[in-house]
């Protein structure tokens, strides 16, 4: 290795440390309000039109799958634009770090959903609780790159996931608020936390 290569690897190491210790500002409060509103609309729609939107557990799951996919896509697209705007030359590294931390949970959610819907439909009642547990775990895993208060939102999802798992297994049915309440409160809390952090960091 030449001296130049050595110097380059030192620069890369400092860049990595800088990105790792910098708070990720790609997740905006507005988009989390949108996801909370989307969850509220889905829950209300299922309450108002139960025959159309939740005649059976698989239809219930399909509705919430659409909500989760739309929310994830919106947050991801917004994160790319915000990161480019707010992190400048560090955007690539910040986005790549965020992807490394979140992709395993997204992959786990996809695999669990596919396996249960495809091969174990009798266990489909467990999906809402499992999804919420995964969102909670995801929150715990990104706590270093987001405001620390995000721990409370993660704990909320973790708590709700456990309760929903028990309720679904005990009652043998799925209620719209089993997904609606955790998502509306959780996403609103995330939006509030991010908004406070953005205001706090504005003077920096």
């Amino acid at each position: 290795m030449t001296e130049f290569d050595n110097a380059l690897s030192q620069v890369h190491e400092i860049q990595a440390r800088l990105a790792e210790s910098t708070r990720f500002r790609g997740i905006g409060a507005d988009l989390n309000v949108f996801t909370a509103a989307l969850a509220l609309c889905a829950a209300l729609a299922q309450v108002i039109w139960p025959q159309v939107l939740q005649p059976d557990p698989l239809s219930y799951i399909a509705v919430w799958l659409v909500v989760l996919v739309l929310s994830t896509l919106a947050v991801c697209i917004d994160a790319v634009f915000r990161a480019r705007r707010l992190h400048g030359s560090m955007a690539g590294m910040m986005l790549s770090g965020a992807a490394h931390r979140t992709l395993p949970y997204a992959a786990a959610a996809v695999i669990i959903t596919c396996v249960i819907c495809g091969f174990a439909r009798e266990s489909v009642l467990l999906l809402p609780g499992l999804w919420q547990l995964l969102i909670g775990l995801l929150g715990f895993s990104v706590v270093r790159s987001l405001p620390r208060e995000i721990l409370w939102a993660s704990a909320w999802y973790f708590f709700c996931g456990s309760v929903v798992l028990v309720l679904a297994a005990y009652s043998g049915r799925l209620d719209p608020w089993m997904m609606g309440l955790p998502l509306v409160v959780g996403q609103a809390a995330v939006a509030l936390i991010l908004n406070r952090a953005e205001r706090g960091g504005a003077g920096d």
Binding site: T2, R17, S21, S89
Partner: protein
């Protein structure tokens, strides 16, 4: 003297190498701080950068005046402590500095005696 307006006319001008960072001691200070979101104590920085109290204070003052470092006095029991951390602006500007430094080094690695003035773009 003629002013260079297009950066491609002066590929070796390196405008991104901010003087506030481009000094051995200050580069050491900022490199130490960049891995610690909550900053470091003055005594920790002094040890990490092998600087005297006076030298460290002088360099920190330069970085503080540029808006790249925040210096806070905190109290731990009876003793007061000085904590230094990079500001958001400092982080962003240091990232740009590192990117420019990387371009300089890549150019030097690629440079094989036949100058191609396009390498630094």
């Amino acid at each position: 003297m003629a002013q260079v307006t297009d950066p491609s006319d002066a590929p070796f001008a390196f405008p991104g190498l901010d003087r506030a960072f481009h000094e051995k001691a200050r580069l050491g200070i900022v490199s130490s701080l960049c891995g610690h979101e909550d900053g470091l104590l003055f005594s920790e920085l002094k040890q990490l950068c092998a600087l005297t109290d006076g030298n460290l204070s002088r360099h920190l003052q330069v970085l503080e005046q540029a808006g790249f470092v925040l210096i806070e006095k905190t109290s731990a029991g009876r003793r007061s402590q000085t904590r230094c951390r990079l500001t958001g602006t400092g982080r962003a500007r240091f990232a740009e500095y590192l990117q420019e430094l990387e371009r300089v080094l890549r150019g030097a690695v690629d440079f094989d005696g036949a100058p191609d003035l396009g390498w630094a773009r």
